[in-house]
Subunit: 362 residues, 2 copies
Amino acid sequence: MPRPKSNDKPAKTPPGKIMLSEIQEQPEAIARLLDREYLPVWEMAKSWRETPPRFIFIAARGTSDHAALFAKYLFETMNGIPVGLASPSIASIYRAKVNMEGALIVGISQSGEAADVISVLQSAKRAGVDTLAITNAGSSKLAAAAHQVILLHAHPEKAVAATKTFTNTLASLVLLSAAIGDNTRLLAQLQRVPQLIEAVIKDAAQIQEKVERFRYLEECVVLGRGYNLANSYELALKLRETCYVRAQAYASPDFLHGPIAILEKGYPVIAFANKGVTLFSVLDVILQAKARGAEVVVIGNAPEALASADVAFTVNVKQTVPEVISPLPAIVAGQFFSETLSVLKGIDPDKPRGLHKVTVTL
Amino acid sequence: MPRPKSNDKPAKTPPGKIMLSEIQEQPEAIARLLDREYLPVWEMAKSWRETPPRFIFIAARGTSDHAALFAKYLFETMNGIPVGLASPSIASIYRAKVNMEGALIVGISQSGEAADVISVLQSAKRAGVDTLAITNAGSSKLAAAAHQVILLHAHPEKAVAATKTFTNTLASLVLLSAAIGDNTRLLAQLQRVPQLIEAVIKDAAQIQEKVERFRYLEECVVLGRGYNLANSYELALKLRETCYVRAQAYASPDFLHGPIAILEKGYPVIAFANKGVTLFSVLDVILQAKARGAEVVVIGNAPEALASADVAFTVNVKQTVPEVISPLPAIVAGQFFSETLSVLKGIDPDKPRGLHKVTVTL
């Protein structure tokens, strides 16, 4: 029987502060990723620069699936490559033979242990289709199952709620998109992300001191669109996991298709509002929510949206932030919000009830 | 100025009974669809039988997007064709040029007026890519924008909450899958759907009499997997729209990745559990929910799951129902549940607050 491996090192952080510490590590973690993976990824993408994949299919669960949603906007808009999100059960349970000729299949799992994501890569590889694993665990089964691997270099993530592995996954996807498109402008934008996140961390008190108002928050919706839609799902998941808040994410137009009926006076609506071509759509839903008396919380860099909010969490308002990278600093503000609220509610954000770091999907 | 058109005919149904009446029309509506569209769809699919699309991209919002999720499982499993769900804003807002060579782009909208879905079809058609509209409105912009049209023949749907257009959309997708795959067995299974739904309607009292228990239901989760995952999203939307219940849908494995933390003693978990290869996964999450003291409500035909439920809504337990068509009768049980609960809560299910039948997405 193989000896169980352990990644545990003596903790430097006091108990109850692991998630907070991992949030603060993010600038360093992304800088490390870019430093270590820039050359390998540019080299890996050589053949895709010549002949781009016909389409990209991404298999992921939970937080990694939110990163996959970001990737859909990224590769379609920046690279013109259609992206589908794989339903892992189609390979693992239905055992369907899907014609993936010319595709690139990407599996994302920070632990590298998500069984059904591994199964998608294995069956694609057997069929002779290009496969790529994005993982924080270089010796994982996921890494072994793929032709190519992008390592996240986020160092072990110990809190149950993913923070630095999420932003490092987004950064690795932007790096891959830039490498496939030979897009040095996008690469330069990506290289600014550590300092943009550093600015959010320096300004964290601005977020933390406004959290008290939400001590008795029990439910909310979280809205976004385009590149920032993934953030809505990710923040809603953090709020559910670490604060037991019944948070539900929607793309702003989908929210208008039915769920808006739930709004009543004072109902909390959190919106990611960053400058860019989708901002008008988020502003539209903010105005409609305000017209119904909702309490509007805005996270982002768009002054119009921040000015119309009941509570505004400003992110990088003094910098110029291209929409494509705006989700990275903005979700960090959301992470601070969740972590602070969790502690305020008397919950241990590092160990929410009933959750394990690695979920094995049958 | 053009004279506004109206589809309104004198209502045969008393006010407050429109949704109920439309639920009951479903066997007839599906039979009409199959009768009118069987030959045109088989003819339309001739070239796809010879050369299947390399992949299918589907654009849809709201209820139609749930049908698109069903279509993903359907075309991948039955036809081996990869399916992606289009993010309409990538065409309508980001104006990205995505390489859709060899693809089939499907737009679904019962009203045919969803502006961003129309925009996806228009830009695909301009690029010379095959397009197909699935709509209940033959003279709509969506129908005009596509190379091919499948008409739903559901007759006008007047209640705000979609019922018969949802099941007719699922049926039209199964018809298309059978036509592409020359799958006469699947066609024969589809032809049984009207009688399976008829059986649910005859047995509706069984559902309605158990709804009183849920008079004060304020929130719940709705779970499913595979072909039945779309039903979870659809029932959650019906409960939000018509009952103002904060219902949240999850694929059963995704629920285990974090959201399960929300469970506490007595928390209501609704699960679709039909016989088939995904049943073990739904049973697994039912057992985990029960172990945490959740109240488990099961809708479906799987005896093991029904037996373990606190409240069981049985659907076609006496018939043999292939998993691929099981969502159609099962969602009808969910529609009865929503409509009955809405009335019990003193809400008008035909006119929930703040919703319009056609939502224009900017």
